[in-house]
Subunit: 132 residues, 2 copies
DNA sequence: TCTTGACCCTGTAGTTGCTACAGGGAGCAT
DNA sequence: ATGCTCCCTGTAGCAACTACAGGGTCAAGA
């Protein structure tokens, strides 16, 4: 059994975040000590680790919730898990395409600017709606 | 002169967003009609277009505010504009590196999963903290 | 003329995923 | 007894919008 601070350290999670996960129902309310402190067992540690790893991989809290409920059911419904993961992957691919296009636009814009204190700023021009 | 709805259509911006920009001081409060409707001139259109284009390129509202104040001053301080743009570019590069690493992790995880209704789900395993 | 419908107004609350207090209590060391 | 670190609840804040609720305005059609 460990305190919320210890759990936070073990999972690299802020104490407030753990309480937040409890509040939104991702983590079950843990047992309390006489002094009303939360105490966590190894299962809670495993669950929070799972949540954090999923979050690190970019899953939304809703997706994490779905993944958790699938593992809670113990049905090992790999098809559904796979779909969630693949959906997420597709979104990541979209984001990559978007951000790379954006980088291209940005770099074109920046390159067209000499960078000095000139009277006509190409960056501002590039952002402006009309040719002036 | 155009209504807020017309301005929204012209700049692909929701009406609520325009009012929001006004509330946070990005857009000046426009003139009103007798019926208390906002009316926008071409300058407002140009300004909102600038904001939207900057936002599309991923600049934060704070960055947009800085860029706008630079253009408002008319000093054409290209050095500062360039710095803002380059800072933003560096952040984009960081994000690209992060998301590509993430894609790699995700795809490795997904590939290790057959995708059927098997008793052991590799994705869940990959997300779990302990080998089971 | 009346009515319908599209638009507009203000103000507030919700979204995501936390984070940061404020104002207090618990527990341990000195 | 005092200080210190941790913990508690509850609420408000962040970005950048978005979505109402509960009304007012205005132009067109029957």
């Amino acid at each position: 059994m460990r305190s919320i601070g210890a759990l936070g350290k073990a999972t690299n999670t802020k104490v407030e975040t753990i309480r937040y996960y409890e509040r939104i129902g991702l983590l079950a309310p843990p047992q309390r000590t006489d002094g009303n402190y939360r105490t966590y067992d190894d299962e809670a540690l495993a669950r929070l680790s799972f949540i954090r790893r999923s979050r690190d991989l970019g899953f939304s809290l809703d997706q994490v919730r779905a993944l958790l409920s699938l593992t809670d059911q113990g049905t090992q419904d790999c098809k559904t898990v796979d779909r969630i993961a693949r959906d997420h992957m597709a979104e990541i691919e979209r984001k990559i395409a978007d951000i790379i296009a954006l980088r291209h636009e940005l770099s074109t814009m920046i390159e067209s600017c000499g960078g000095g204190n000139i009277s006509e700023c190409r960056i501002i021009e590039a952002l402006s709606p009309f040719d002036n």
